[in-house]
């Protein structure tokens, strides 16, 4: 008995270091607790799902890939500490993740300073890739481009003259509002008012009644999901009827928005970064696999994470070594098609190492989120104009 035990122990001991050499560690920073935890969870699950597949398919040239997922608790200073820990204590070869813009920004600062490559997959404030930080790469479009798909929809179909912008007041909402204002300038749409608000409010009626008085053609909102629901519910209660309600992605495309708004979600249009019906290789597969494994729906954040995992694997396979400069070089040379879309990092405008993607337009129809624009990719026809009072049952 003792012999067997000793034998096993010796084997494990000898195998230990050998095994350790065979693992490539990548640090992933996500909010696993706190109020952003929900999305952190979806991304973590997507990373886990991808990791299983990647390792089952032989890992990184035979070596195992390991994701060290750390909780930034939704606070940038914790994100910083965690990033430092991953870099100095765990000696990861690169970083991934980055959900909230402010946390992503702080983590990027650490990564750049320590010359460790960081592949961002969700944090969307523009300034993160405008700092000429050569170790920072971003897979997802910046928030200023979230509405790019909307532009043509508005220009060709809706043709609004006036707009009102409502946005939550963190980096995400503020930058998004700025970007949409520019879009309005380009399209010749007059912005009647822009109102920021602190997320988590109960009663938006004071603001909405002002919007009603202003009588805009479109109401553009950048909100997290629960605010989005309340905004629509209360718009309905006030019988606020612009020509169109448009969401700037995020909250407006999530299943919870529909669940919590009921009738008030119907026919609301939104920009979106991803939809499972897009003919991107593996998009629908990913959606179904996720549902099968976790019994939940996934959405664009999950797709971003899943794609990021595959990009990381691809980058490490092609890298000449695990030294940061080589990983960085490998990232620069990326040209991969993922479930989220094509990934190729370019520099344009003020940005560096940014992946450029188009966005799409979706609309809630009969309780389902349908892809309605661009017309050649759409699976359903958009509904416009909308008789809101009829749709709302009032």
């Amino acid at each position: 008995m003792i012999m067997i035990f000793t034998g096993l122990a010796l084997t494990a001991f000898l195998m230990g270091p050998a095994l350790a050499q065979e693992t490539l560690k990548v640090g992933i920073v996500l909010p696993l607790t706190g109020d952003q935890a929900k999305f952190g969870e979806i991304e973590k699950k997507s990373f886990d799902l991808a990791l299983e597949e990647i390792n089952a398919a032989g890992g990184i040239n035979g070596k195992k890939l390991e994701f060290l997922i750390e909780d930034d608790t939704g606070r940038p200073e914790v994100g910083r500490s965690v990033a430092e820990k991953l870099i100095t204590k765990d000696q990861v070869v690169m970083l991934g993740g980055g959900y909230a813009s402010s946390t992503t920004y702080a983590v990027a600062g650490v990564a750049q300073q320590n010359r460790v490559p960081f592949l961002i997959n969700t944090g969307s404030a523009d300034n993160i890739t405008e700092k000429k930080w050569d170790y920072i790469f971003r897979l997802n479009p910046p928030v200023s481009e979230y509405a790019s798909g909307l532009e043509t929809f508005l220009a060709e179909v809706v043709k609004p003259q006036t707009a009102v912008i409502l946005h939550e007041n963190t980096m995400f909402g503020t930058k998004g509002a700025e970007a949409f204002k520019k879009t309005c300038g380009k399209l010749g749409v007059k912005v009647l008012m822009t109102e920021g608000y602190e997320a988590g409010g109960i009663d938006f009626k004071p603001v909405l009644i002002k919007v009603k008085e202003a009588n805009p053609d479109i109401v553009y909102m950048i909100s997290y999901v629960m605010d989005a629901s309340l905004l629509m519910r209360q718009s309905r209660e006030l019988k606020l009827t612009p020509k169109l309600f448009v969401g700037g992605a995020a909250g407006f495309t999530l299943p919870e928005f529909n669940q919590n708004s009921g009738k008030a979600a119907e026919k609301v249009v939104s920009a979106t970064l991803w939809h499972q019906v897009l003919s991107l290789p593996g998009a629908m597969d990913y959606f179904e696999k996720f549902k099968k494994k976790y019994n939940k729906d996934t959405e664009y954040h999950g797709a971003e994470a899943y794609a990021a995992a595959y990009v990381i694997a691809d980058v490490l396979k092609r890298a000449k070594s695990v030294k940061p400069e080589d990983v960085k070089q490998s990232l620069k040379e990326t040209d991969l098609m993922t479930v989220f879309g094509p990934v190729k990092f370019t520099s344009y405008g003020k940005k560096t190492n940014q992946n450029k993607l188009t966005t799409y337009v979706v609309q809630w129809q009969d309780g389902k989120l349908q892809l309605v624009w661009p017309a050649n990719l759409a699976k359903a026809k958009y509904v416009y104009p909308v008789d809101w009072l009829k749709v709302w049952g009032l």
């Binding site: 204590k89 402010s102 980096m171």
Partner: protein, 317 residues
Amino acid sequence: MKRNRLTIAILAAVFLLFPVAVTSDYYRHLAILALMWVVIGGSWNLLAGYTGQISFGHAIFFGTGAYAAGILADKLGLSAWWGLVLGGPAAVVMGLILGFICFRLRGPYFALATIAAGEICRLIAVNWESMTNGMVGILLIQSFRSKVPYYYLALALAGGSMLVFSLVMKSKWGFYFVSIREDQDAAESLGINASLYKNLSLAISAFFTGTAGAFYLNYMAFIDPEVVFSLPYISIMAILVAIIGGVATIWGPAVGAFIMVGVQETFRSAIFGLAPKWVSQSHALVFGLMVIFVILYLANGVVGDWPKIKRLVVRSR
């Protein structure tokens, strides 16, 4: 608590040599945070533990110091290190304003007013975007890549603040502070100018907290209103550091700072990776339970109730 010279010398040696012995940046970071909290907790302790003015708004001073440094760097293009010089005085100014508004209030009313003032400062920082960048915050590049200079700076601040507090409390001012705490009216009837001494205590307290804030900006290189003006993570944390360590003692906040930082990170990292993952979900819960436990059984903190703890340990042998 009287500690003999030898103990202090040994402690000093340990702290001075710490970065040499421990080369992991992760542990150095924790040490730096703990030292920063020694300063903040000690400052709160001066105003509240010794002078009896229970402030729930110390984040005001921390945030002011941090933003003073941040605005210098971000808007005026100067080095954020000037913040270390200006952060303290800026916080003192804020403190005097706060004192002017709130010192006429006593007990729970004073505490409530400081909560409100703290939140108002936070909201101003969020909305005054031209000065503070609002929720976007201020991000800099750290001056030093190594943690060692920051460690020694934090150590100097911690040691310096403790020395100052100790000297103040041993002086006449110390007596006046305590007498105001015990019974402000009686103290005034004895000719002590309560208003003057409350403000003095507040000024010293604000000065060190503001300097700690400026240090924070230079070290973490990122601040935003939610981080530095936070009620739970700065104001209440300061109170808990002092209480868990032991209010109205010089060493209390120091002990409290290390306990708080240590326990929090131990649980957040699931005992540094040794325990199952779900343990890290419970870090806030453990924090809350610790607060309840300490207040119930160790109300004078680890240092204050040290005799009690010694007795318990001896008994259980």
